[in-house]
């Protein structure tokens, strides 16, 4: 069948314009991040933005990634699936993405802080670590 309209070539392919990539959310988000970073600079107040709760249009998420970029620090945590923590090219603005074991995003945060809490060792964990280390030492003595 080669009648008009039935050929693959007849399907128009349009390049997506930059304007079509964002319906305005990115500018709004950047304004909020700026305001929060200002607070961090002035009085050390930290902030968090939950990206999962925002209705981003297709392409906007990627645009935000591109805009914030990647800075000096990147870290990876393995705890019930990986977590990826990067400092964006704006120091103090962190992008924290938690994945499950299958690689799906379960939480996605922009954190405006000195260091995201998830990177810090937790008291309950290092208490347990201390016990384990002591046990290891005692085992070595016997």
């Amino acid at each position: 069948m080669n009648s008009p309209g039935n050929n693959l070539k007849d399907i128009p392919i349009l390049a997506q314009t930059e304007e079509a990539c964002s319906v305005g959310n990115i500018r709004a988000l950047l304004t909020e991040i700026t305001a929060r970073l200002e607070k961090l600079v002035i009085n050390g107040e930290t902030g968090m933005i939950d990206l999962n709760s925002l209705p981003l249009a297709p392409g906007e998420y990627e645009l935000l990634r591109l805009t914030l970029g990647q800075g000096e620090v990147s870290a990876r945590i393995e705890a019930i699936g990986p977590s990826e923590i990067i400092e964006t090219r704006y120091p103090g603005v962190w992008w924290v993405t938690h994945y499950n074991v299958e690689g799906d995003i379960v939480a996605d945060m922009i954190e405006i802080t000195h260091i995201p809490e998830i990177l810090m060792s937790q008291p309950a964990d290092f208490s347990e670590g201390l016990e384990l280390l002591k046990a290891q030492l005692n085992e070595g003595q016997s």
Binding site: L14, A20, V23, G24, N25, R27, A28, L29, T31, E32, R36, E45, T46, G47, M48, I49, D50, N52, S53, L54, P55, L56, A57, P58, E60, I77, A79, I80, G81, S83, H98, N100, V101, E102, D104, I105, V106, A107, D108, M109, E117, I118, S121, Q122, P123, A124, D125
Partner: protein
């Protein structure tokens, strides 16, 4: 019988680190739409929470709700939900069968009287003495009334249990009704949707464990944190609605440009749910993002609300377009819309070191 152990003890037994638990709580806070700064408070409360016994009764249903929960996108996190509760009776998931299965239900009702959670999926048929759906020779009505007596609270999962759903659609040959039509003296939370978003089921359980009571509900008994806004409110295509840009058919230029599907019958403006932000299939997309309007499955009588493809304003259906949605949509420009959204997200993410007492306010 002894109380169940706390969630913290249970997780420690499984070698789950506090950092991993913090990550889980971050996901839970995001789910429950609590301020991100409340993660530490949630973690402290959850780790001390006693795991409640849960009896799950399935009535006139298709098992889609159970499939939604057990095949959800976050298997490991959902497994932690199963660690958060002691699921003592569930037809589809339990290993026991026959008399053994029914005995575990009876034991739980006796040992945890006044303390267990009752989860119900499916509607309850009342016609002809309720004979259209029976389990172990007993009608759904009988089983529900018996189990409801000792329940601390009831969670009606899915549109069938919440509002009667498809069995209740005209002409409703079995006389199907919702849980709230039968049980009047217990706190009941409706988690509607066909099926409901698995994360919402998880979120309500996490809320109950964190605070010890059910979340704040709307006038249809649904948790406000998930059903407080319409699909339309949170839709990424909303700016096109504000600009008057509509797809007129499923293959026109407007559809290709991703414009608003209102004129193609999208029920987003009258449907309360979190599909637009929580999304489906591991956060991949939701119906509107795939190019199809919302069917309104989390609202009562969605099956009898006229064609899925009739625009709301033209429909004479029970799902009437709220006038304020039309007026607001027509009157505000895109600038206002973005400003509001910014305000909303600013309000939501306002960072405070919250305590559980603060969250209960």
């Amino acid at each position: 019988m002894n109380e169940h152990e706390t969630l913290g003890e249970r997780l420690a037994q499984q070698g789950i680190s506090r950092r991993a638990f913090l990550k889980f709580c971050t996901a839970m806070a995001s789910l429950m739409a609590l301020p991100p700064g409340s993660v530490t408070a949630i973690a402290e409360a959850l780790v001390k929470a006693k795991r409640p016994s849960v009896i799950w009764l399935s009535f006139q249903e298709c098992t889609g709700c159970t499939e939604s929960l057990t095949r959800s996108h976050t298997p490991t996190l959902e497994n932690m939900i199963f660690d958060m509760i002691s699921l003592d009776y569930h037809h589809t998931l339990q290993a026991a069968s026959g008399y053994g299965a029914e005995k575990s239900r009876e034991d739980t009702m006796r040992d945890f009287y006044g303390k267990y959670l009752l989860v119900v999926d499916g509607s309850i048929p009342l016609n002809d003495g309720g004979v259209y759906s029976t389990i172990a020779g007993r009608t759904n009505l009988d089983l529900l009334q018996e189990a409801a007596k000792g329940a601390a609270a009831i969670i009606a999962v899915g549109t069938c249990a919440a509002f009667g759903g498809i069995p209740n659609a005209k002409p409703n040959p079995t006389g199907a009704v919702a849980v709230t039509d039968i049980i009047k003296d217990k706190p009941i939370v409706n988690i509607s949707g066909c099926p409901p978003i698995p994360a919402v089921i998880t979120g309500v359980l996490a809320h109950y464990l964190t605070f010890g009571f059910l979340p704040e509900l709307d006038d249809l008994g649904r948790p406000k944190s998930f059903y407080g806004e319409t699909i339309h409110d949170r839709c990424y295509r909303r700016p096109f609605y504000d600009q008057g840009k509509f797809a007129k058919s499923f293959d026109d230029e407007g559809a290709r440009n991703g414009w608003c599907l209102f004129e193609l019958g999208c029920k987003g403006p009258t449907t309360h749910n979190v599909c637009a932000t929580t999304k489906w299939n591991g956060g991949t997309s939701f119906p509107i993002e795939s190019g199809h309007g919302c069917l309104g499955c989390s609202e009562p009588h969605f099956w009898d609300a006229g064609s899925f493809y009739s625009a709301l304003s033209m429909s004479s259906s029970p799902l009437k377009l709220a006038t304020d949605a039309v007026v607001a949509g027509a009157a505000v420009g895109v600038a206002v819309s973005i400003a509001n959204r910014l305000k909303k997200s600013a309000a939501k993410s306002a960072h405070q070191t919250a305590t559980i007492a603060d969250l209960e306010k």
